[in-house]
């Protein structure tokens, strides 16, 4: 009986989706709003990557909200997983198996490269594909590899939370500076635009991007570490 209902539900969704795909015609030109963004981001903000320009400046307040969501998730995961009665059920009790030689040595070679690549992605967000969120996720994946390969590693939660809070405070302060010296909250015109396409350009976008990267990387690392206990 349950199978019949499940098949029915999935089939009905399939019919709706097939209708959408059948009626969809590929678009020939962008919308008026997208046209504005595509001219304003390179022209007015001086950022080569239009998506980063939208995310960090035009929708900057939204991005701040996203970071707040991540922060709340880190806090609630910590709350949910901390008060466990007696941490004896973990694998520590019956001697965890060590990762293989290959994994341990491979980590030593690859890990610095992963962190370096994360930093590169964070700092080049305004020039090519990337940005704070993406680079932060790359850094956190490096942390995950570190935990899988060297399970004895302990993250310094105090250091991570101080770094993360500092990045958040500076982020909001830059937003308020935008309110005072430029057109509005998180406006990136508080710094000179510089030469288009160079690393130091596009006003405050690289600074905000770096802060976002630090914040997201630290938050995701803390979330991953919480699941280990």
């Amino acid at each position: 009986m349950r199978t019949v209902f499940s098949i029915l539900a999935v089939a009905m969704f399939a019919v709706i989706f097939a209708g959408i795909v059948g009626d969809y015609g590929e678009r020939e030109s962008v919308s008026e709003l997208a046209r504005q963004y595509l001219t304003l981001v390179p022209g007015d903000l001086g950022a080569a990557n239009v998506v980063t320009g939208i995310l960090i400046t035009y929708r900057g307040f939204d991005t701040l909200g996203e970071v707040a969501v991540l922060f709340m998730v880190a806090a609630s995961v910590g709350l949910l997983l901390s008060g466990g009665e007696g941490e004896t059920h973990t694998a520590d009790a019956d001697k965890p198996r060590r990762p293989s030689e290959l994994v341990e040595n491979g980590t030593v070679v690859i890990l610095p490269l992963i962190f370096l690549f994360g930093g590169y992605v964070i700092m080049n967000g305004h020039l090519s594909a990337g940005g704070g969120f993406q680079g932060g996720a790359v850094v956190a994946s490096g942390t995950m590899l570190l935990m899988l390969a060297l399970p004895a590693t302990r993250l310094n939660h105090g250091f991570l939370s101080v770094t993360e809070s500092l990045a958040g405070v500076v982020y909001v302060s830059i937003g308020i500076l935008g309110l005072v010296f430029a057109a509005g909250f998180l406006d990136s015109h508080i710094l000179p635009l510089g030469d288009f396409g160079t690393l130091i350009s596009a006003g405050a976008i690289p600074v905000i991007s770096a802060l976002l990267g630090i914040k997201v990387g630290a938050e995701l690392s803390v979330i991953i570490d919480r699941f280990r206990s």
């Binding site: 399939a14 969809y24 998506v51 998730v73």
Partner: protein, 122 residues
């Protein structure tokens, strides 16, 4: 030639969503349900990005291959891409909270099957 790119992307995304819905409906193990949710999530992201595709468009990044003056005619719509970044972050957050609850349920009931959660049945 053949199929337009956005049709291929939309079909892939919707298929992933169907697999995810099927997984959520049919499986009794919490972790498998969460994996189904992840598939549903990814399918929605692919569909959202697909709606921003312009015929023959390229990534909205201004460089040697795409000059400023031809950006409005040759680049894809950047707005769905910017929105999907938000969606990915929220999807990650929801998955993390779901996994945390799954761990708590496993602590309390010693199993991951949703059949033991009788107190929330009506």
């Amino acid at each position: 030639m053949g199929l337009p790119i956005s049709t291929i992307l939309l079909t892939t995304g919707f298929l992933l969503m169907l697999i995810g819905i099927w997984g959520i409906l049919r499986h009794r193990n919490l972790l498998r349900i969460i994996i189904g949710f992840g598939l549903l999530d990814t399918g929605i992201h692919i569909v959202m990005v697909a709606t921003g595709y312009i015929a023959g468009g390229t990534a909205p990044i201004i460089d040697k291959a795409l000059g400023i003056d031809e950006a409005t005619t040759r680049a894809v719509d950047p707005i769905p891409s910017a929105l999907v970044v938000t969606a990915i972050v929220i999807g990650f957050s929801v998955t993390a909270v779901m996994l945390a609850y799954a761990i708590r349920i496993h602590d309390a009931h010693k199993t991951l099957s949703i059949d033991v959660l009788t107190e929330s049945k009506w």
